[in-house]
């Protein structure tokens, strides 16, 4: 099996790892770099539990090859905390009980973050459609949407 050396930036840090060419970015992040925040819920882009950003764009890491990360910037849930402080989304998710088992939470946080960066004042409908790519089986999405609304409000204050 031939491997390739990948030089990339993850959450602002320079990272190198070696992986087979047919390995997904999700597997590279989890098994080579040790960042297990992104989860495999399906492996086929249907659940969003592996959501990360690739050069700022929201993607499913299971649908990107590890080698594609070369020279690009990856953002994962581990990068939401800044200077030791929780991102408003993280705070509001806890405050509003927007997680039960928590397996979908990293994916939702990354997706919600990219939404709010593009659209700081989303309507309820816009939030729901932006997060349609993230499946949750525990919450029925109610408290998730409320948490995103609360975080958006908080972030607009700053």
């Amino acid at each position: 099996m031939t491997g390739v050396l990948v030089s990339t930036t993850i959450n602002g840090d320079a990272v190198q790892f070696a992986c087979p060419t047919d390995e997904t970015l999700l597997d590279s992040l989890r098994n080579r770099v040790g960042l297990t925040g992104a989860k495999e819920g399906c492996g086929t882009g249907d659940c969003g539990a592996c959501s990360v950003t690739l050069d700022g764009r929201l993607v499913c890491a299971c649908l990107v090859l590890g080698v594609e990360a070369n020279g690009r910037e990856i953002g994962t849930v581990e990068g939401l905390v800044e200077d030791g402080k929780l991102h408003p989304l993280q705070e509001k998710f806890i405050e509003h009980a927007a997680l039960q088992c928590g397996i979908c939470t990293p994916g939702f946080l990354v997706a919600a973050k990219t939404l709010l960066e593009k659209n700081p004042k989303p309507s309820e409908e816009q939030i729901r459609y932006a997060l349609a790519g993230n499946l949750c089986r525990c919450t029925g999405y109610d408290k998730i949407v409320r948490a995103v609304q609360a975080a958006a409000k908080e972030m607009r204050k700053k």
């Binding site: 031939t2 997904t24 086929t44 882009g45 959501s51 690739l54 929201l58 090859l65 459609y129 790519g133």
Partner: protein, 286 residues
């Protein structure tokens, strides 16, 4: 598996042409990586075309729009002028999947995957879109409706790759729309879909194209449906004729996503609704 990142279209075409094993093009990867995961393909070569400048941009000229093969759905949505001229094309591409999929998927990938239910295809065909095909030695331009020949099959020869999609210059008083039926509000493959592109003259439909998706092995151009609304202001009788023509043109299957009966009936319903939206986008009043 070899992974190559050519920087010109010709280089990509040559790599694909030479490969003795199983070669695949990688643009967004939202179909390819799924097939790899499910064991449906084991490529010996993957050609990543995202480093080719000729495929990366949306450009507008007097001749119309040119959309590079690696432009992702999200980028199409962000392009204001494209959305203004071709809202049906953009909303179709937008429906290919979630925001995560939109960050990667491409119209060309959607086309070449050859699914009868591909979302971008009916709207492209209705618009009269063309594909610029590059082989290792020559280029040719072909109407998009000639690309897909059957489920999972295209008319591209070995070593040919689509560099861009072109859309014709937009006439004034034009509008297009794409609708599909899915069981959920998002995340589903289209069960049945309809695209309508039309131009008006003094409120009357002058030219029209009606295309159905997911009701046959390939997208279906329903000439009779277009004829039914040309020369009309989309009165109820014309719309009923359009719907009937659409239902008659269906040749769907029963599968885990829908039944023959359902697809046939709803094709007509969606075509009517898409026609109304396109009409209003073209400036008509209903």
């Amino acid at each position: 598996m070899r992974y190559e990142t050519p920087t010109t279209t010709k280089e990509a075409a040559t790599l694909l042409h030479k490969e003795k094993g199983q070669a695949h093009i990688l643009a967004g990867g939202t179909d390819l990586l799924v097939r790899m995961k499910m064991g449906m393909t084991e490529p010996t070569l993957v050609v990543d075309i995202k480093h080719i400048p000729a495929m990366q941009a949306i450009t507008k000229s007097a001749a119309g729009f040119k959309i590079g093969a690696t432009v992702c759905g999200a980028a199409m949505t962000e392009h204001a002028a494209l959305g203004k001229a071709w809202p049906g094309i953009v909303e179709a591409a937008n429906l290919i999947g979630s925001d995560q999929i939109q960050g990667r998927c491409t119209m060309v990938g959607n086309l070449c995957n050859g699914s009868p239910a591909a979302d971008s295809v009916p709207a492209m065909i209705a618009a009269g879109a063309k594909a610029i095909i590059v082989g290792k030695d020559k280029r040719r331009t072909v109407a998009v409706d000639k690309i897909v020949t059957g489920p999972g099959k295209t008319s591209l020869a070995k070593g040919e790759v689509i560099e861009a999609i072109t859309l014709p210059a937009r006439l004034p008083r034009s509008g297009d729309a794409y609708l599909r039926f899915t069981p959920r509000t998002e995340m589903d493959i289209a069960v049945v879909s309809a695209a309508v592109n039309l131009t008006l003259q003094r409120g009357v439909v002058k030219t029209a194209r009606v295309v159905l998706g997911a009701v046959a092995p390939t997208a279906v151009i329903v000439a009779k449906a277009a004829k039914a609304i040309i020369g009309t202001k989309l009165d109820d009788e014309a719309l009923e004729k359009l719907a009937a023509a659409c239902s008659a043109a269906c040749n769907p299957i029963d599968d885990k996503r829908g039944t023959i009966e359902y697809r046939t009936k709803v094709a007509g319903v969606l075509a009517k609704r898409a026609a109304k939206i396109a009409y209003q986008r073209a400036g008509g009043t209903l």
